[in-house]
């Protein structure tokens, strides 16, 4: 949660109060004399009064703690759709997240995958009913990348915020290498991929001999 209270011009001596990180307002009272807010927050909480940082009561987490917290946050997001995921599928997804967001391997100059991008990924996965689990990656600017391979054929989807996706694929058709790319909303993804028979990646890929 992020709470920002702005005063009407000239009325209050605190021009803006902002709380960052997670939290919730547990009570709020407003009257002619002003406002009273009781707020709760977790983790590192930063308060800014009149544009000056006033205090940081809990130290900012280090890189290791930050990536660990992020991993948990993405798993909590997954719980929102968990009833639509097969148990083994979900367990595999969590293993992929653990590998992707490994503090020892992660390049901390890259943005962590955003929750908005991961939400697009989850909604896409349920929408596609993909029986096969993609491998996971991330772009430097914090987008989740899902990739399915079937033999030499590969489908890669970059999940952008707000149910928007960018995709690129390469497959062999009658001995010829064909590639395609596009951008669409998740809702139109199947239509966009239909000429390339996407079911080979999502469900039907025969096991490698």
């Amino acid at each position: 949660m992020s709470l920002v209270i702005y005063r009407p011009q000239g009325a209050f001596d605190a021009s803006a109060i902002a709380m960052t990180r997670t939290g919730s307002v547990s009570s709020l009272a407003l009257d002619y004399a002003g406002a009273s807010v009781i707020a709760q927050g977790t983790g590192a909480t930063r308060r800014t009064v009149d544009g000056r940082a006033a205090w940081v009561p809990v130290s900012e987490p280090g890189d290791e703690a930050r990536i660990f917290d992020h991993r948990i946050a993405l798993k909590v997001l997954t719980s929102k759709v968990a009833m639509h995921l097969d148990g083994a599928w979900r367990a595999g997804l969590f293993r992929s997240l653990d590998t992707l967001l490994d503090g020892e391997e992660w390049d901390f100059s890259d943005a962590l995958p955003s929750e908005a991008s991961f939400k697009t990924f989850l909604r896409m996965i349920v929408y596609l009913s993909s029986a096969r689990r993609p491998s996971l990656g991330a772009t430097a600017d914090g987008h989740i990348v899902a990739a399915w391979t079937c033999g030499q054929d590969r489908l890669t989807i970059e999940c952008l915020p707000d149910d928007s996706v960018r995709w690129v694929l390469a497959k062999c058709v009658a001995g010829e290498r064909v590639s395609g790319a596009g951008r669409s909303s998740t809702r139109f993804l199947i239509e966009a991929l239909r000429p390339y028979s996407p079911e080979q990646w999502l469900s039907d890929c025969p096991p490698t001999p």
Binding site: I5, R7, A11, F12, D13, A14, I17, G23, S26, A33, G34, A35, S36, V37, I38, A39, Q40, G41, T42, G43, T45, R47, V49, A54, P57, V58, F68, D69, I72, K75, V76, T78, S79, K80, V81, A82, M83, H84, L85, G87, R90, F94, R123, V126, Y127, D163, T186, R187
Partner: protein, 242 residues
């Protein structure tokens, strides 16, 4: 008994133990240390008060109101605070047996950490979300097809696009309280609508204090919670989660 529905719509199951007198700093700290050993992620819960008045705005010093612990798979979370302790299970809900086992462990750890405390309320809250398939986000759907609880308003020529219905009553020969909330929410899935059924059953009168009585109460709360759930959903809803 295993979970009766293959796709249980429970997004959150919470059991809370509330106590009469706020915990001391020392007791809160002991509970923090005990749970920190068992859970992967620990967060400090801060509370602060802001008073905004013309010419005299004050921001109170923050104080620690409790701690939240989450396990590595983000399936369970424990909150321990000055007013008590709670266990939360997130989806996928794997059934009462698993939750009960974790609950007994949580109670055991907390009770040992903070010593004997007078319980004033024991609550069991299950938040359910029904995902209603629609062919397009704008397609109207009828709440009454899935839930027996909601609001009815006169027709103004357009279908109801959202509602919140809240009721408070006593059940179990008035031994228990029931807070029931039904509402629409922003859909979580594409091409779905979403209905929330939030069932909060609690004991706040003659609250048991001995372990054996607490677990007997827990079974009763669970039984009432299940009865309320079944009474509130329709066969069409059952089909969605079967």
């Amino acid at each position: 008994m295993t979970q009766p529905y293959a796709r249980a719509p429970i997004t959150e199951a919470v059991v809370e133990f509330r106590i009469a007198d706020p915990l001391s700093d020392a007791a809160l700290d002991v509970s923090r240390r005990r749970f920190a050993k068992r859970y992967s992620k620990a967060e400090q819960l801060m509370e602060w008060q802001l008073n905004l008045q013309p010419g005299n705005s004050q921001v109170g010093e923050p104080h620690v109101s409790g701690f939240r612990f989450t396990n590595g798979e983000a399936r369970y979370a424990v909150n321990t605070g000055r007013s008590g302790c709670s266990l939360t299970a997130l989806a996928p809900y794997e059934g009462w047996e698993e939750f009960d086992e974790r609950l007994r462990e949580t109670w055991g750890v907390w009770a040992k950490a903070v010593g004997r405390q007078k319980l004033t309320r024991i609550g069991m809250r299950y938040v359910n979300r029904l995902d209603i398939p629609v062919t397009s986000q704008d397609e109207p759907w009828n709440r009454a097809e899935y839930l027996n609880v909601g609001v009815d308003i006169p027709s103004f020529g357009h279908p109801l696009t959202g509602f919140v219905a809240q009721s408070f009553t006593r059940i179990g020969r008035e031994r228990f309280g029931l807070n029931l909330t039904a509402s629409t929410m922003q859909p979580v899935l594409l091409d779905h609508g979403a209905l929330v059924l939030d069932i909060d059953v609690y004991a706040d009168v003659d609250v048991p204090q001995r372990d054996a009585d607490i677990w007997t109460l827990m079974e009763a709360l669970r039984s009432y919670k299940n009865q309320v759930f079944e009474a509130c959903i329709t066969d069409a809803a059952r089909e969605l989660i079967r």
